[in-house]
Symmetry: C2
Subunit: 463 residues, 2 copies
């Protein structure tokens, strides 16, 4: 079949692809028309009914194609104003733009790490899981929940985390949270109430997390960072340590095996607690995943995971696997009733149990790996003085720069319309580490439709 | 068409109802078979495929019927173990049962107020709204959210609350929460930080709410309760007042008009703040709803609403309409990122905008009203010494008892397998009120399938 779409004055020659069929063909043709500018930003598309009639295809096919392209960021849809071509993220012309040419905060691209590619959120699969979860949930599941979270989800997570991350968990030691920050908000005051005065943190990390701990009255001294990575062997005076063992954030290295054992020894010896932030443990490209530290001693390590990187932060779903002795206190801190919506918990449980989560992680890993490779290749080609590190896992890379260049490159990127963080953004004010100059590039952040433009803008800003 | 269902050894004569058709006919027949005991508790039903083939109807029809009956509580469905007849809530034989005949906490019925009929949660409509919300959401909606909540929802709520509750709100003064408790957790410390030392509360209310305020370091003295209801005119020494103006919880009376004006005057005069808990303002039966107090002075009244009564607590969605001067502080207290999932917020926004929320509230109001009328009639008939009060609105009634009977009746109810709260449960330890003996009967709580049994158990326990 070959149809041509004249409704918009644009010829979309639709040939069913060898694989994929009509839907795929229409999606590709439409995406291409947007990408090449044949359909201008803001153009209103015909209703799915009209276009389906024009093309002689089922209306559902067109509706699904529109939904896919909305999800990918090429189109926008709003109740009442129809489907339009998105205001494209246009790569600005090369060379520095004068101040005022772009409104602050309205950058065209972002390579700031911390958010996965939201356009690849598996909307259809998620809805399917929600439908199944709603169809089988007993009605009393919709009441005020158990503050530990729904048992279905705790059970699914205990199994999943054991299988994929080597976590030792039972449904009774898992507590569902609204994400990592929520867990830290619960744990900080609890540590303080137990007499802990300081929680040692890494020399590189997120100031927002340190502030949450300080908000609970804890000091947050910095652990040394050296050639082997974070050194948590002697957190003097601290009663707890906050670590990213699988994939140091943002440096990208796993915690050295000797130091994994050493920090657990420290915790056993002193009664200390290790808070393990396993934010992206599923995204490892080059070899077997680094198992969770928690597996070494579930009584001394609190394992903290999240759906924010593997699915989307907007779900506000995370989980803590707790030493049994901490469960009651954390649940009490969480409150009398659950704060996490039941339907989302049941949907995630179904998503895990049905294998949809594994499938999504596999496909996301492949996509991110391709971006990582493209980033490494582009930098090697166009900025040979820049060294790409920390790329064995995760959704971001660290680009080491020649001395004195971090700040100018971040500024140049801004002028290219690219939001970018230098390593200084993640440096502890009392970091015990050699000064390093680098960029932290979140290559997972842009939607597919903006990735090439973001990479190009980055390359232009590099020395 | 007339089919007979022999698969289970039960004849289900299916005649399409005059209105409603095959689906309705099958639903009714199956519900009837369960209700009358022809299908025993635990019986496994044939798969929807098998039954559809037996009856010569579409598989979807059977699947929808099963889903409806699961939602109503007649059937249960679990992945892997199929659809079964629910373990029925059987009314135990009359007369006191010996201790040990029933496990504690496994009561057959509950008339404890605070939860709506969860079996009537509009699952299909909710899913439909979720599908529409997901189809039109821009991809970046799935990121870390605005701590105020999604603008779509704040906009929809501002419009809805103005129209239905007389609240004066703009999207910028609405903050989305995980429910009423979450709002109270945010506001308590904020009041304390502003120098407030006491928040006056009603002589009857929820201890859990008072504890949240006390947890923030506030004293919670009791306001007098007299023949005209709560008297908030002179909350001596308090910097804030927590009230249920539309429908005093649990007594069921609206705040007297003179006192509505007086408490707002007090707030203006002293710089105090009124926290308005409008937990079930939409459910008023006998006349026009009592508008929100907030409409009198949006600068001195914090309006607090929730989806927990109108839809289901499991959604964990509530909202605060704040005096503009409080917005920034509340948002800061809520945290850097939102704690309320984006998809649920977008779904509720869509649910409101599409009119599905209004339709659901209307149909729920009708259903609850019928229950209320049945309760009043049954009590008048079978326990003429008991007076039913507080029934102009809401999902619960107060049954005034002759002196000395509250405790024995609650105990007798327990022996009937009925969970029930006496008024003492809601009485402030320093209540300024005549002692009253009463039951607080949450007639909204049971699913339709258990309502008749719960009412019967109640009547048996009454004097």
């Amino acid at each position: 079949m070959a149809s041509s779409w004249a409704t918009l004055g644009v010829d979309l020659h639709l040939e069913p692809a060898a694989s994929g069929g009509l839907r795929r063909g229409l999606t590709d043709a439409l995406r291409d028309a947007v990408r090449t500018g044949r359909l201008a930003p803001g153009t209103r598309l015909p209703s799915s009914r009209t276009l389906a009639a024009d093309l002689g295809v089922a209306r559902n096919t067109v509706a699904e194609v529109y939904a896919d392209l909305v999800a990918e960021g090429w189109l926008t849809a709003r109740q009442g104003s129809g489907t339009r071509v998105a205001d494209r993220v246009v790569v600005p012309p090369a060379g520095p733009a004068g101040p005022g040419r772009r409104e602050p905060g309205r950058l065209a691209h972002s390579l700031v790490p911390g958010t996965p590619d939201l356009a690849s959120f598996p909307r259809a699969e998620w809805l399917k899981a929600a439908r199944r979860a709603l169809a089988t949930a007993p009605f009393d599941a919709l009441g005020y929940g158990d503050p530990r979270g729904r048992r279905e989800l705790r059970t699914a997570l205990a199994g999943y985390l054991a299988r994929v991350r080597g976590v030792r968990a039972t449904p009774d030691t898992v507590v569902i949270t609204s994400g990592f920050s929520h867990a830290l908000r619960l744990l900080g005051p609890l540590l303080r109430a137990r007499g802990v005065r300081a929680a040692a943190v890494e020399s590189y990390g997120l100031d927002y997390h340190w502030r949450l701990l300080r908000g609970a009255g804890l000091a947050t001294p910095a652990l040394p960072y050296d050639a082997l990575g974070t050194d948590p062997r002697a957190p003097d005076g601290a009663g707890a340590v906050l670590l990213t063992p699988a994939h140091q954030f943002p440096m990208g290295t796993p915690l050295h095996p000797d130091r994994r054992a050493a920090v657990v020894d420290w915790a056993r010896r002193t009664g200390g607690l290790v808070l393990e932030d396993d934010y992206d443990g599923e995204f490892r490209y080059d070899r077997q995943p680094v198992g969770a530290l928690q597996g070494l001693d579930p009584d001394r390590v609190v394992y903290l995971g999240t759906a924010s990187k593997s699915l989307a932060p907007g779900l506000r779903l995370g989980w803590a696997v707790l030493p049994p002795s901490l469960v009651d206190e954390v649940v009490a801190a969480k409150g009398h009733v659950d704060t996490c919506p039941v339907l989302d918990q049941l949907t995630l449980a179904e998503f895990l149990a049905s294998g949809a989560y594994d499938r999504h992680v596999r496909s996301a890993r492949l996509r991110y790996r391709r971006r990582r490779d493209a980033l490494a290749a582009a930098v090697a080609d166009r900025a040979p003085t820049v060294r790409v590190t920390g790329i064995a896992a995760g959704l971001h890379a660290v680009l080491r720069l020649p001395p004195g260049l971090e700040r100018p490159v971040v500024q140049a990127a801004g002028l290219q319309g690219l939001a970018l963080h230098g390593l200084a953004f993640y440096r502890h004010p009392e970091a015990v580490a050699e000064p390093l100059e680098a960029l932290v590039v979140g290559y997972g952040t842009p939607p597919d439709s903006a990735w090439a433009g973001a990479l190009e803008a980055l390359c232009r800003a590099l020395p």
